[in-house]
Symmetry: C2
Subunit: 334 residues, 2 copies
Amino acid sequence: MVTILDVARLAGVSKATVSRALNGKVFVREEVKARIMQAIAETGYRPNQLARNLANNKTNSVGLVITNGLYNGPFFSSMIYHAATNSELHSRQLVLADGKHSAQEERDAIDLLLSLRCEAIMIYPKYLSVDELDEIIERNPTPIVVINRELTRHRSQCVFVDHQQSCETMMDYLLSQGHTRIAFVAGSDASPTGERRLAGYRKALRNAGIEPDPQLLVRGSWSTDSGYEAGRELLARNVPFTCVLAGNDDMAIGVAKACYEAGLRLPQDVSLAGFDDSVIGKYYNPSLTTIHVPMEEMIRNAIERVLLPEAATICAHRGELVCRESVIAHKTAR
Amino acid sequence: MVTILDVARLAGVSKATVSRALNGKVFVREEVKARIMQAIAETGYRPNQLARNLANNKTNSVGLVITNGLYNGPFFSSMIYHAATNSELHSRQLVLADGKHSAQEERDAIDLLLSLRCEAIMIYPKYLSVDELDEIIERNPTPIVVINRELTRHRSQCVFVDHQQSCETMMDYLLSQGHTRIAFVAGSDASPTGERRLAGYRKALRNAGIEPDPQLLVRGSWSTDSGYEAGRELLARNVPFTCVLAGNDDMAIGVAKACYEAGLRLPQDVSLAGFDDSVIGKYYNPSLTTIHVPMEEMIRNAIERVLLPEAATICAHRGELVCRESVIAHKTAR
């Protein structure tokens, strides 16, 4: 392995001079600096960042923890994208670590990033509870921000969307279009996001004087495949409905496939809506009515919260109704 | 910040004993170990992984470099997913770093991961040339594998798909269905993947005795939005075609939207095909004919190449034709 000594020899200077040129704290003549840079290029020397981070106690990087079970979809790819580009805007490098399949592994991923001396950490938790997250924030001097959970003790260290309110907004719209038999494809039952949306579905129905029919509730697990299976299950029950609301756009697309296979036309025979405002919903035929989740603003806000806490604004974001072709007013019951 | 001394005090042992218990190299009584673990839990002490990595010269992690311009789509989210789950299968943690917008920044991201003592590095390059990649491999003792480029000097350090051959396979199928006026929506012109697919399109046409019509070629930049714009541009030229082949599924979905807006039905009026076999293509209506890119096998192979070089197999993967509803035999010209 090439060492700083090899660079010093080739440049004809001392090790200390190379070191001074690299850490930039002490004046080194331009001509000498140029020779050192040339020698670094020729030898392929790589300053030991690990040792430097240890010395400086920082890395100019921002860590993000997400469990790999969530990577595989447009929603999270969009989140990782915004996290990377917004880190870059703040002259930081995004480093993503995998939270895997348990609260302990989410802790391990946070610890890995902390031990790599990331300047700040963002976590989109799947397994850690609000209490555990609050505790992690208390124990660590490094700024940590939690995405998509409403913390109780450290409310300034989280950014989230009010999923229940968003779902009520969507339901009020569907009800206003004359739909009363609205089926709901819920997300995984362990997911707070899914449960809040389900609560919003039930609350909006009850507000409209309609008792939720358990026959109209099916469970998916966020993927398009699971939405397709949920759609088939719903159709097999043979109960009347005029509209399906899916817990996210991916599942809505799966439901659409199940409807087509059963000979139903969208939106003439069944209206359909989702959540997330994913790219595909905009391009789907018919284009998908959905709730826009302000992912980019949320991530920008999360990064500002940890890097520029004085500049950060609100922590609660609101979803916004996006009306497209897949929902029409109800005329005849199916 | 909690130090090892705090742990030692609380556990009633010496600093050296805590250190011995943590690095596991010397025998420490179970009862003492339990007391130390308890003290670690109570104090929230985190062993300095950075210092440890420096001492052990390893981190049990695998680095992946992809530029953030590529994160935002189902193809790359699927790649990151398979990279994480396959790293986990090998008891490693995936660490993703951002290659940003230039060859220099791709180098910087590789350097960051190397300096964090990742055990192995995978790179899906966008800007670095084959020569530069070969050189990086030569200079670094850490195993590096390049995804989606055919290296010339270090052929055992790359995994790739033969994109030209895959495109010829698709074109031969479209031609066999009676299509002769086939439009092509190419990817970004700086992309080797895009250029290989375009070369396959032209070669297959010429093999069939058809001179490629420049009026049937439009450029996109891989996103669904760009496919939509390319589709509109193609339709505005008002030249006859019976089939559109898009450089990936995302762009194909955009083309479909442009066709619907122009009052064309798929596949009755226009056949449509893409590449990648993305989830959405399977669920789109009509479902999309495409080339399956064996992403999971490719990533598994890439990880084996760097972690278990003796177990690794082929480096060239083949795309596979997936026939679905969006392509039908040509009957009448548009």
